[in-house]
């Protein structure tokens, strides 16, 4: 079973670009366009792989090291996140807070590269990204706290197992956690209403900013890492905060359903919601923090459990 889980985890390397691809395709349909096919990110990666890189003048080792390091962080994150509560033994543990650290390292690498180029657009995006991360990280750990309460552990496998079944939904605590984690997904994947992945307008862009100077295989690594972020977050969302069973076989079926459902939800939100002002984002995330904290308090207090 763990061998199968390991294979599925590694399959994420290949499948991850399908997630943003299908979100974009579905979004286009919802907006009445024909749009690109879900395989578009693969075509883009292939195209980028054949192009040469660009080194802006004055950049050094930091700029060149950042894309592989970002991709390496996300690769490590992929094997830390279990599939349907099961995971292969890669020796990296399965801790939720280690995951937070790896995502922070990836963020650091890109922001440092932005400083290395000295480009205003890159730094503008990095500054906004890091500002939002302050509130996003607080929200993320609080949502993880709510998910850790039933398991009394931050081992993602145990958290997934403890959140399985229907009983957990009888109290209000897990609902609070689910709302908070929905906001986490929006922040960490950089989708509307918090960020707009389709834009390169300096007034609005966040995550696209630090990538502006990159080209070729460097950009391919970073684009893949962005897709892997979707994979990690949507998988966690489906495993921790959507109904699922504890059996592995049925669990995978429900997991696929859950991830597809989350992709559809993201597409609907992107169609229905305009991007909000960046300065309003912290208030939204703060609201999520309060909800998550209330969920934790309700669980500890034993309300409805």
């Amino acid at each position: 079973m763990s061998a199968l889980a390991a294979i599925l985890q590694l399959l994420g390397v290949a499948l991850a670009p399908l997630l943003p691809g299908s979100i974009q395709a579905l979004k286009a349909r919802l907006q009445g366009r024909r749009g690109p096919s879900p395989w578009q990110p693969y075509r883009m990666l292939r195209r980028l792989w054949g192009k040469s890189a660009v080194d802006p003048e004055g950049t050094g080792v930091v700029y060149r090291l950042a894309p592989p390091l970002v991709a390496a962080c996300l690769l490590a994150a992929l094997v830390i996140v279990p599939i349907a509560g099961h995971a292969g033994n890669f020796g990296l543990g399965h801790d939720a807070l280690v995951l937070v650290g790896l995502l922070a390292l990836a963020r650091f690498a890109l922001a440092a590269a932005a400083w290395d180029t000295g480009s205003g657009f890159a730094l503008m995006g990095a500054a906004r990204d890091l500002m939002i991360a302050v509130f996003g990280e607080a929200l993320l750990v609080l949502a993880l706290l709510v998910a850790a309460l039933p398991a009394h552990s931050t081992d993602l496998r145990a958290m997934s197992a403890a959140a399985s079944g229907g009983a957990i939904w009888s109290g209000p605590a897990h609902w609070c956690g689910a709302i908070a984690f929905a906001l986490v997904i929006l922040v960490e994947t950089g989708r509307q209403p918090i960020d707009n992945p389709d834009t390169h307008l300096e007034l609005t862009m966040i995550h696209e900013g630090p990538l502006l100077e990159y080209a070729g295989r460097d950009l391919a690594f970073i684009q893949w890492a962005a897709a892997a972020r979707h994979w990690v977050l949507l998988l966690l969302g489906a495993e921790l905060f959507l109904p699922h069973g504890s059996a592995f076989g049925a669990g995978i079926g429900l997991l696929v359903l859950g991830v597809v459902g989350l992709c559809a939800a993201l597409a609907v939100i992107e169609t229905a919601e305009a991007k909000m002002r960046i300065l309003r984002v912290p208030a939204l995330l703060g609201f999520g923090c309060v909800i998550a904290l209330a969920g934790a308090g309700l669980w500890v207090g034993g309300v409805g459990a």
């Binding site: 390091l69 991709a71 922070a104 657009f121 730094l123 906004r128 750990v141 960046i278 300065l279």
Partner: protein
């Protein structure tokens, strides 16, 4: 008394000898190296005591006669002191010669180190208080020997005034403990009742908290630390405030008898405010050393969070986690001592090379000063809490402690722990933002001043000191699990924490943080991906600035990078901005902008207090007429009041 006792005495004697030699004309370098040898011996003794089963010398006692000894907790702090002081002294060996008041500062450095060791080794109240005061006074003296302008004198005055006012708490706490015979005897204070316990707990929290730099008692720290010579700033921020944490642990954890629950909650709240507040004000500083000083406040806050969580676990009966949280706090003590020392030394090297510590005047130093820049980058990543360096290991443990502390009832405690958890996560993200800014402005990109373009790495001793500390950041980050069981054993009742000694942090109730495996995985994957990327046929091109040339005026500044956060937190930070537009004939000729973020605690707490104090002094001054007859009248009045009191029986 054995080898260790002899070693400790020899180490102190060598240290003192090094101080005398440093004061001798022409022997400064030798003296500092001798001091380093002394600290090395003391550090080894500390490690031996920490890992051994036997305490050294006298136990704690409630008598007046002087007594010295080292138990395991003292051994830990002495070991950390040794580990950070040896590289610092290597640095000072090449840093001090040629600076102002070099011999005086060199000798006072030894005195300062001896006073730190003295506090850690004191086993009775008089010795402790004597060395405690020396520890405060000697660095002040060293700062005044090195720099004499009015602003430095003002900073030192504020340092001494605030630490002495707050430090009264230390005297009160220790003398009350002494009065009840409770130094080294937890049952004595428990017998004295909750009144005495509460008094001691609060007095120690204020006294040691002032010296540790808890907000709102921190105001001296960002004033005093930046004005000291680099190696003294490093020792003050790296170790002096940790010695205050040592005192706090002694009183609150060991001698209080039963620790009340409110103390755990208080520590969590103090830690939360200090961590978030410290990093927030660090973020808006332009001066590198001032920024680092604010980060010390953040990090003592994180240590307080670990200690508070430990008390709450003990209160809930979860003794294993109480020991783990305590070990997390101690691990962060060691980690912060190492990377903060490194960062202050790096700042000193930059100041020497460039002549300025204004962040907007540095730039491109990684290429010009690869040793200093590389070490500084490692230290910055460590303090920003990035895996796989040492800062992440202790922050991960502290986060885990807070998360697990939120499992236990009552709900109010769980909510405070949850808020502290969110606060610590935000603190880590803020520290990341801050140090991306610092390394970006100082190390990466193009030089912002001609001095940066011609800066060079410093002499061997300075390079070696920083490289040693950077290596320690990496080492402690890779194998934190090897010392975790030793630290957990130091917690009160922590002997049975049941942690196995492995390189990674395989703590029960977590998904494990195998630091070494993660580091190897990241290194192998990054190297593999770079290989996959193949040889680069990169086209050099200017960075895109909408077709403009990227001239230095377009470069981003410290203020620009933190602007989004300042806008979001305007209500808390309350930045001041002055924009002057000079027009003539309808044309804008010149625009000047200046802005700064005042320290809210200073404007809301200290300034009103100072104003009230001055007003009271002005009123009191009216009594001092200088007229002999008035004073005679005062005396007469006093005698009369005394007679009336005696007559009415108030004196009993």
């Amino acid at each position: 008394m054995g080898v260790l006792g002899a070693g400790a005495i020899a180490g102190c004697a060598t240290l003192a000898l090094g101080g005398l030699l440093a004061a001798w004309p022409g022997r400064l370098g030798v003296g500092v190296i001798v001091q380093a040898a002394g600290m090395l011996v003391l550090g080894v003794v500390g490690i031996a005591v920490l890992t051994g089963d036997q305490a050294l010398g006298a136990p704690f006692r409630s008598s007046i006669g002087p007594a010295f000894g080292l138990d395991q907790l003292s051994g830990f702090f002495v070991a950390v002191l040794g580990v950070t002081a040896v590289p610092t002294l290597l640095f000072a060996r090449d840093y001090l010669p040629g600076s102002a008041g070099e011999r005086g500062v060199g000798a006072l450095t030894a005195g300062f180190l001896l006073s730190l060791v003295g506090v850690l080794a004191a086993r009775d109240v008089t010795t402790f208080l004597a060395f405690w005061e020396l520890m405060t006074l000697l660095p002040a003296a060293a700062i005044l020997v090195a720099k004499r302008d009015a602003s430095v004198r003002g900073a030192v005055y504020a340092y001494l005034a605030i630490t002495h006012l707050g430090g009264a708490g230390v005297w009160i706490a220790l003398l009350v403990l002494q009065h009840h015979g409770a130094i080294g005897d937890p049952s004595a204070l428990a017998a004295a009742g909750t009144g005495a316990q509460t008094l001691v707990a609060i007095a120690a929290l204020i006294g040691f908290g002032t010296k540790a730099g808890f907000i709102p008692l921190h105001s001296w720290l960002p004033r005093a630390h930046p004005v000291a010579p680099a190696h003294l700033s490093a020792l003050m921020s790296g170790m002096m405030i940790k010695v205050a944490i040592y005192g706090l642990i002694r009183v609150e954890f060991e001698w209080l008898g039963a620790t009340p629950r409110w103390l755990g909650i208080a520590l969590l709240l103090i830690g939360l405010v200090s961590a978030v507040g410290g990093v927030l004000w660090a973020l808006v500083q332009h001066d590198l050393k001032r920024l680092l000083a604010y980060h010390s406040i953040e990090n003592v806050g994180i240590i307080a969070l670990g200690l508070g969580a430990s008390l709450l676990f003990a209160d809930a009966g979860a003794y294993q986690w109480a020991a783990i949280a305590f070990a997390a706090a101690l691990l962060h003590v060691a980690n912060h001592a190492i990377f903060k020392t490194l960062l202050f030394l790096g700042a000193g090297a930059f100041e020497r090379a460039v002549g300025s510590l204004d962040l907007d005047h540095l730039g491109g130093l990684l290429r010009r000063m690869p040793w200093t820049g590389g070490a500084f980058l490692v230290g910055s990543m460590a303090i920003a809490g990035l895996p796989p360096l040492n800062g992440f290991a202790s922050e991960w443990l502290t986060l885990q402690s807070l998360l697990h502390a939120a499992f236990y009832r009552p709900v109010a405690v769980a909510l405070v722990a949850g808020a502290a958890l969110a606060g610590l996560a935000a603190t880590a993200a803020l520290a990341l933002l801050c140090f991306v800014k610092v390394v970006g402005l100082a190390l990466f990109g193009a030089p912002r001043r001609s001095q940066c373009a011609h800066a060079n790495d410093p002499a061997l001793g300075m390079r070696a000191g920083m490289a040693l500390l950077a290596a320690l950041c990496v080492l402690l980050g890779l194998v934190p699990g090897l010392i975790l069981p030793t630290l957990a054993r130091l917690a009160p009742g922590g002997a049975g924490a049941g942690l196995s000694r492995q390189p990674g942090l395989l703590v029960p109730g977590t998904g494990a943080y195998p630091a070494l495996a993660i580091a190897i995985a990241l290194a192998v994957l990054t190297a593999g991906l770079m290989r996959l990327r193949g040889s680069r046929r990169a086209a050099p091109a200017p960075a895109w600035a909408c077709g403009q040339a990227l001239v230095p005026e377009l470069g981003w500044t410290s203020a620009a990078f933190t602007k989004p956060l300042r806008l979001v937190l305007e209500g808390v930070l309350r930045p001041h901005r002055v924009l002057e537009v000079v027009r003539s004939g309808g044309m804008v000729q010149k625009i000047t902008y200046s802005g700064h973020v005042p320290s809210l605690v200073d404007t809301l707490l200290y300034e009103p207090t100072i104003r009230a104090g001055l007003r009271a002094a002005a009123v009191a001054r009216r009594l001092q007429t200088g007229n002999v007859r008035t004073y005679a009248a005062y005396l007469l009045g006093l005698v009369l009041v005394g007679l009336v009191c005696a007559r009415t029986g108030i004196f009993g």
